[in-house]
Subunit: 386 residues, 2 copies
């Protein structure tokens, strides 16, 4: 096991009727900016629950944060924060709204001239404006971590940021919100959280026995829960397991002490930036090619995964590892997610080269857990995903 | 899954050479009370590493905190805290030293007259004196939770306390400290952490799928690691897995959203108070009787445990649940721990009645996850453990 540091101070309030606790979780006398997305919260009753709980606070609203939160839109919210002297941010939404709120928490206290520098110059946020979240779409785990990914439409960039100052003060997880989520987005949440686990697990063995088993536990639970929650979004038991898996998949716990990959995400972000493909689906597109291309360095963990998660006991190490890859692709198909780029766009030729060039431009000369996947490797992996 | 709240702000520094980070983890200008136990840290090099890292702080020492930290001893440390105007506590030890330090963190800021009231009156500690820990004996999980158990020799009482103010600011976990731990205490740590998981898991099914799998993961890892670490305490891989299992077994994560039992601990504490039997061994004494006596209400989880943790696939639900109990007893034996009270004392007759009476005296008329185990049931369970 590698050395590690772990700290996650976010308070989780999980279960039915937790939204009303906003009234006491936000410190008294804060001036709150309520942030949300496309307005679905006004149709499913969450907006009413939230505003009722906030009745003792001065609240300003900012709606319209899009999926893949856009820098240009967020700058408008930043202006409001400064003009209205906001002191506390409340994100009500999924990963996009929460990530956008994290950018604002950082930018609100940032002393530099161009907030984009936080992303392009990889400036860590040690202290941000305090914020809480009400999660409406389980998927990204952003509700219990200190990272965010922000998109800049003008330059087709999608970059990450983070830092200790970006943990939510609290996050409210009421599995009942899942009732009204479209099936397509539930499938995205399943694929996104599943791939988060893979990126922290499917590397090389390092004798971190408990982290391995925790990662396998999350994947097993997602696999068991997927047909239930897709079959009936009002199934509270399935909803609560789905929601807690998404949070645990990316709250830092399983990534500690072990090598991390994140190559699938690095490539996937480019597909979203280029074609607007849902984040989770970009991951599903790249998973099989990535693991097949890197079979030599990942086969021990792939075989362990095949054995423990998919109960594959027959065959050589290589047989098992390939069977694990196939099972993963079949899982994506089982939840209605296509796994080839050509199923999402006709305009896919040249994508591999485009992505490779943008990696070179950013100086990303080696990604993956060994830092050895070059832009040339990226070309091959992306081409295998066409 | 039940509703729950979860927050654990303790920072973990895990791995080799982490002790030197004390120099920066303790805020500057704090006046530190360094607390430790019987002095083994002066023989194994830990004391030197700690004092070197503390060279920029004003440090007062208090050694001699015994296993099952005693109220009477702790009162002497409390006097020093007040006289020397200590502002930060540093526990260097196992669960006893850390628990004792938590009592002091609470008592130092307590406004009442008798600090024992914190225990006897179950007063929650919302704010305590800040403290950190250097763990020297993995077992209790106290390094990453907000609970403590304190013993009062004079009255043969052993009571719990807790509250949000009792999370360590940081805990340093260097698996290398395990090198010098006697085999007997390593076995205790294995049994203690294993039983912690059982107490939070072996109840009734509540569809908390991920919590179940996490609990099973910890137990599987302890079972796999036990022969390795008992065979060679310098095996760093085994040591690190053992250490991280002990922490994760009782840092609050797996107990959230599920019913908790803790009847084995409630009864076990009495055996320690009466006979001075090692805490972990009291748990091993009571486990088989408790689960056998409560088979009717626990058989679904016992069978699930037998299947998933011990790979028992044959037989009826009842067969499997009994096999799970037998495997647990065999596990204790495999690590050299006796499981009958009569193997620890000849003076065991009447113990069941004595424990039952002390429960009645405290008004504990129903323990366990249903709160339905009466003092009469306790008599039977303890008698089955003779």
């Amino acid at each position: 096991m590698n050395n590690f540091e772990f700290k996650n101070p976010t308070k989780i309030l999980f279960g039915k009727s937790q939204i009303e606790k906003l009234a006491t979780e936000i410190p008294p006398n804060e001036k709150v900016l309520l942030l949300y997305g496309g307005g679905s919260i006004k149709k499913n009753g969450i907006y009413e629950q939230v505003t009722k709980a906030l009745s003792n606070f001065e609240v300003v609203e900012f709606g319209g944060i899009p999926a893949n939160p856009e820098y240009e839109v967020l700058l408008k919210a930043l202006k409001i924060i400064k003009e209205k002297q906001i002191t506390f941010l409340l994100a009500v939404g999924g990963g996009s709204v929460i990530d956008g709120t994290k950018f604002l928490a950082s930018a609100a206290l940032y002393k530099g001239e161009k907030p984009w520098d936080i992303l392009s110059e990889k400036i860590r946020t040690e202290k941000g404006m305090p914020f809480g979240t009400v999660l409406t779409l389980p998927a990204t785990g952003s509700e219990m971590n200190s990272g965010a990914v922000i998109t800049r439409k003008g330059t087709k960039e999608k970059l990450g940021m983070g830092g200790e100052g970006l943990f939510p003060q609290f996050s409210i997880l009421d599995p009942q919100v899942i009732h009204s989520i479209p099936k397509r987005q539930i499938a995205n949440g399943l694929a996104d959280s599943f791939t988060h686990v893979l990126e922290q697990y499917m590397t090389y063995p390092i004798d971190a026995a408990l982290q391995d088993r925790f990662a396998e536990s999350i994947m097993q639970t997602i696999i068991e829960t997927a047909p239930k929650i897709l079959g009936d979004a009002t199934d509270y038991k399935a909803a609560s397991n789905f929601m807690w898996c998404c949070t645990m998949a990316l709250n830092g716990l399983i990534q500690k002490g072990v090598p991390n990959d994140w190559a699938i995400h690095a490539m996937g972000h480019e597909l979203t930036a280029l074609y607007g493909i849902d984040h989770a689906r970009t991951l599903a597109i790249l998973t099989k090619s990535h693991y097949t291309y890197n079979l030599a360095t990942k086969k021990e963990k792939l075989a362990q995964y095949a054995e423990r998660v998919w109960n594959i006991s027959e065959g050589t190490l290589e047989d098992k590892s390939k069977a694990g890859i196939d099972k993963t692709e079949a899982f994506f198909h089982s939840i209605g997610i296509d796994t080839k780029l050509s199923e999402y766009t006709n305009d896919y030729k040249g994508t591999a080269e485009t992505i490779s060039k943008s990696f070179i431009k950013r100086g990303w000369d080696g990604i993956g857990e060994h830092g050895t996947l070059t832009p040339k490797d990226v070309v091959k992996i992306v081409e295998m995903s066409y």
